[in-house]
């Protein structure tokens, strides 16, 4: 039924196109010329981008490494170690304890060859606005040395005080309590805000964000303590 209907339409369409094919300069010529020009433009644009990419690559790599080191410097003072963190890196295939289902790098700090700290990324999945990405430094004795929020979608002005740049309390930002209060030997129950019977402060009105961060940091600390031997021993690639 539908096929029969379609046929006359096709014929009509063909009839309409036919006269155009006879017209100069010819559809094919125009198409070929357009295609060639488009290809030419694509070639020139790609060449331009390739050149700029090559010219900026060293600066971009350097900027990314500076960025990483700046973040690490905030949670792990340089005086504590003497190796090149970024070179002494292993890759964890995946770590459910850290909320990671993709491979993550683990940076290892050493002084005179002795293990000092591990720096790695963890994800707090229970954030109010979605997952919160953290960078955590855990000392060789399983102490949490420092934590920073790398990316989050917490409500501006409410839950975003977990990021020290947004914290109104500039002198003693919330996130600093990990490094200043020596979180050694804490049990699972201690890794909670005070409201929930834990050891950590929070701000009234926004408990979900710090709760999520605390859970993730607690899990990461336990993970680092349990896997310590293995994480320090593996040879970097």
């Amino acid at each position: 039924m539908s096929e029969e209907q379609a046929r006359p339409e096709e014929q009509e369409a063909h009839l309409e196109i036919a006269p155009e094919e006879d017209q100069p300069p010819g559809l094919i010529d125009t198409s070929v010329r357009s295609a060639a020009l488009l290809f030419g433009f694509a070639l020139v644009c790609t060449a331009l981008m390739a050149w700029i990419y090559g010219a900026t690559l060293p600066s971009i790599t350097a900027a990314a490494e500076r960025e990483k080191m700046k973040l690490i410097d905030e949670i792990l003072p340089r005086a504590l170690y003497d190796n090149n963190l970024l070179a002494d890196t292993i890759e964890l295939p995946s770590a459910p304890d850290l909320g990671q289902d993709e491979a993550i790098p683990v940076y290892r700090a050493r002084k005179g060859g002795q293990p000092v700290a591990l720096v790695f990324e963890a994800i707090a999945p229970e954030g109010y606005g979605g997952p919160i990405r953290l960078v955590i430094a855990v000392g060789a004795d399983a102490t949490v040395l420092g934590v920073r929020v790398v990316a989050h979608k917490e409500t501006p002005g409410l839950g975003d005080y977990i990021d020290p740049r947004k914290d109104k309390n500039k002198k003693d930002p919330w996130i600093e309590q990990f490094s200043t209060r020596g979180a050694t030997g804490l049990s699972e129950a201690d890794w909670k805000v005070k409201k929930d019977g834990g050891r950590f402060d929070y701000m009234t009105g926004a408990t979900i964000s710090p709760r999520a961060v605390l859970q993730a940091v607690g899990r990461a600390a336990r993970f680092a303590a349990a896997e310590r031997e293995r994480l320090y021993a593996v040879q970097p690639k």
Binding site: R33, C45, T46, I52, T56, S59, A63, E67, P156, G157
Partner: protein
């Protein structure tokens, strides 16, 4: 091109056909990034640069570009220029790049860029086209600067926060008292719409007032 034509193009871009509050094009970056003065101005500056470069490039190549395939060629040129800008910012203004993030590549999809290339650059000389692009971008810059400044001031009580990422050695101003709790709505997207609505209303009011005064002035001049 004489100076009167340049002035006409500038007036057109900044006031009469202002991208942000008259043509209402490219609202996505406008509203998303205008949470602070520095963010708004930085993105607008990038847009100015892209618009001037793409308009100039298209005008220079306009006799080469067949009418049938002009749109893909325009997009190709704009996308290539934006990619170059994206890479350059990543390399030399890395901190700012981290803030503006995905909005730089999105300049490609900002319809105002394509609109000016199609409406103006494809029919004019490179110099006039580049000037037109820059002025259209400047119109956006003015709106983004005021919008960003307002939202930052109301929302977090600061002004020019984060300027040290662009000009090292400077720092933002704390306008409100340090314990200002902030006004959340101004920072969230609804605040952007409310502020923008006020701008459009204000501009229409100014235009209406000018129109009312204009006939009187014209008849006065005739006598």
């Amino acid at each position: 091109m004489n100076s009167a034509e340049f002035r006409a193009i500038a007036e057109n871009g900044i006031w009469r056909q202002n991208t942000g509050i008259v043509q209402l094009l490219g609202l996505c970056p406008l509203l998303a990034i205008s949470t602070s003065f520095v963010n708004g101005v930085s993105l607008a500056l990038a847009t100015v640069l892209v618009m001037a470069m793409s308009s100039g490039a298209v005008a220079a190549l306009r006799t080469l570009i067949p009418y049938e395939i002009r749109i893909p060629v325009f997009i190709l040129i704009i996308a290539a220029l934006v990619t170059c800008l994206d890479l350059a910012m990543n390399a030399w203004l890395h901190e700012l790049y981290l803030v503006l993030g995905i909005f730089i590549p999105l300049i490609v999809t900002n319809c105002i860029v394509l609109a000016r290339v199609e409406a103006f650059a494809s029919k004019n000389t490179p110099l006039a086209a580049a000037w037109d692009g820059a002025m259209m971008g400047t119109g956006l810059l003015v709106v983004l600067a005021i919008l960003g400044g307002m939202r930052e001031l109301i929302g977090s009580g600061t002004l020019f926060a984060g300027i040290e990422t662009i000009i090292p050695g400077t720092h933002g101003l704390q306008i409100a008292p340090a314990d200002y709790p902030g006004f959340l709505v101004a920072i969230l997207p609804p605040g952007a719409f409310i502020c923008l609505g006020c701008f459009i209303a204000g501009r229409n009011w100014l235009d209406a007032r000018a129109a009312k005064h204009a006939p009187a002035a014209a008849s006065a001049a005739a006598h």
